[in-house]
Amino acid sequence: MSLLSVRDLAIDYATKGGSLHAVSRGTLEVGAGEVVGLVGESGCGKTTLARALTGVVPRNATFEAGEIVFEGRNLLGRPVSEWRDLLWRKISFVPQSSMNALDPVYRVGAQMDEVLRLRGGMGRAQARERTDELFRMVGLDPRRGTEYPHQFSGGMRQRAAIAMALALQPALVIADEPVTALDVIVQRQVLDTLRDLQARLGVSVLLVTHDISVVAYVCDRVVVMYAGEVVESGTARDVLETPRHPYTMGLTNAFPDLERAGGTLAPIAGGPPDLRHPPRGCRFAERCPFALARCRAETPPLVVAPNGHASACWRSDEAPALSELAKDPSTWTLTSTSAA
């Protein structure tokens, strides 16, 4: 059984211009001891979905549908107090803005200490030892715990936030872009730390990232979102090497690769749809080089193949052939031709 299972989650934001459907098909699983990547274009709803799992959402957000089952219990509809109770102890969250994880008026070490003593019930000496250990784990000198968050560099704050989330060894760590501000050496150190916790303690991780290299390095499975919907999921190998959704094909294609020199990047032309008025049919159709008439009329369902590789595309059966076409940059510069 999965540790976390999210089904058809829908979340709206109330805005001046009407409801913005930030997440409309949030469907994903995180197994015990699994590292799962959540990827997708800027603004596609990753943070909204990830943050919703903690029960703490912005005031103008509402849960419209779906379920969030954690350790066999559906959390949606339960009192928020019960949900909050799980935070820190069982589920921890590293926000995209590391400043939000740290209180600017307290010294970094003291904040860590408070989490360990108040929430973890540790004694003074034990908490102190653990704080030092956590600092070193993310490559920070423990002596710098006496400083305030503004005295840290961007990446140092990010690492302090990660250390804080790992403090009580929760069952599930949800981390929103945790390594964006880190150089590759520290990034590797942090990712190795997560891997190690997963291996030693069976900690599960949901890692929000836009970085395919990070997914390839550390994730067992990956979930791809587009315009509020999960459009593909499966093992990292299946999704990255044999993608079944054209958006994923475009994504893996436009990535700069240090080993393959030169060339210009082939971005996916166009932009995401307005989430207040999502289009009928497949939301990717407007930018998809392979769209057919049907794509614009009917929403493709998320279909799970026997090997667990799921995708929501009417042409998934043709994936190997489309994938070949997708490797040619000119495929992405043409606007969809087959709009018949």
Binding site: T47, T146, S153, A181, I185, Q187, A236
Partner: protein
């Protein structure tokens, strides 16, 4: 040729809180965020700035834009010496140079709507009100944000990547001559990112923009900057053409950095990095090389003496005792099979 950015001996130390013992001994510990930087940047040149988290990249950028004052050293941007710049001259300077802040969540006033944040620089620079709407629309197009509806939103109602583009737009709206972009696309996915990077290239060409591009993403730096500088614990340790730095890194730190770059492929080797375990500490200022405690090839001289930044035949610069200027710039030692 006269450099556009001219930096000599630039240093910044921040005081830190003292322990009881240090108070008793009368010590004043500091973090040496930036130490003795020497470099020139030509007009229209874009330079990538790489380095470990906490090594002083942001501080360097802030020094160059006079957002903090140096402890020692000098910097000149264009014709302006930064020391002593004030009043009207400082205001003019502020119009010509822009900083793109690293964390978009901190960069904008949370209580002000996006539209007003974008208009602010225009107001400050005295641009006629009638031009504001057009200029904002144009710059939003450039950073690939569509929908003027966004202008009425507050920062917390935007995604990370959207905010990052607003911060960039704010820096570009006055068409500056020099920018320091601190991780400007770190939260953007590849499809948006490619558009922004192409924009940066265009600006270099069309406006002759001079830029420092801070990023930990080597593939990115390579895309926008022909030259790259690498810092370690406050000091410049390597400087040269980006292609050379990536394909033939000289400084042992740069080598480890290149070896650590993850590839977007599932099957990749995970060789241990050519680094000794250890935590860099900006508080300790040893007499030797700042990298000595983690360097896999350190020799006795490295602990005793700080290696100067020397220029090798061909113009690359590197600060490492194993890299004597007199010899050919060939790596003298093999660090690991991965290299």
């Amino acid at each position: 040729m006269d450099a556009y950015v001219h930096v000599r001996g630039l240093s910044k130390a921040f005081p830190v809180r003292r322990g009881v013992g240090q108070v008793l001994r009368g010590e004043h510990p500091v973090v040496h965020a930036v130490r003795d930087l020497d470099f020139d940047i030509a007009q229209g040149e874009t330079v990538g700035l790489l380095g470990e988290s906490g090594c002083g990249k942001t501080t360097t950028g802030r020094l160059l834009l006079k957002l903090v004052e140096p402890t020692s050293g000098t910097a000149r941007i264009g014709t302006r010496e930064l020391a002593g710049l004030k009043g009207a001259a400082l205001r003019d300077f502020r119009r010509d140079v822009q900083f793109v802040f690293q964390n978009p969540f901190d960069a904008l006033n949370p209580r002000i709507q996006i539209g007003r944040s974008l208009a602010e620089p225009l107001i400050n620079a005295g641009v006629p009100k009638a031009e504001h709407a057009d200029r904002i629309r144009l710059v939003l197009e450039r950073v690939r944000i569509k929908g003027v509806e966004l202008l009425e939103r507050f920062p917390h109602e935007m995604s990370g990547g959207q905010l990052q583009r607003i911060v960039l737009a704010r820096a570009l709206v006055l068409e500056p001559r020099f920018i320091v972009a601190d991780e400007p696309v770190s939260m953007l996915d590849v499809s948006v990112r490619a558009g922004i990077l192409n924009l940066m290239r265009d600006l270099q060409d069309s406006l002759g923009l001079t830029a420092i591009y801070i990023s930990h993403d080597l593939a990115l730096v390579r895309y926008v900057a022909r030259r790259t500088m690498v810092m370690y614990l406050g000091s410049l340790v390597e400087d040269g053409p980006t292609e050379d730095v990536i394909s033939r890194p000289l400084h042992p730190y740069t080598r480890a950095l290149i070896a650590a770059v993850p590839l977007p492929r599932v099957s990749q080797t995970r060789d241990p990095l050519p680094l000794r375990p250890g935590t860099p500490d900006a508080r300790k200022v040893g007499a030797g090389c700042a990298f000595v405690n983690r360097c896999p090839v350190a020799i006795a001289a490295c602990t005793a003496e700080r290696p100067p930044l020397v220029t090798l035949p061909g113009g690359r610069r590197v600060a490492c005792h194993l890299m004597p200027a007199a010899t050919q710039p060939r790596p003298p030692v093999t660090l690991s099979p991965a290299l």
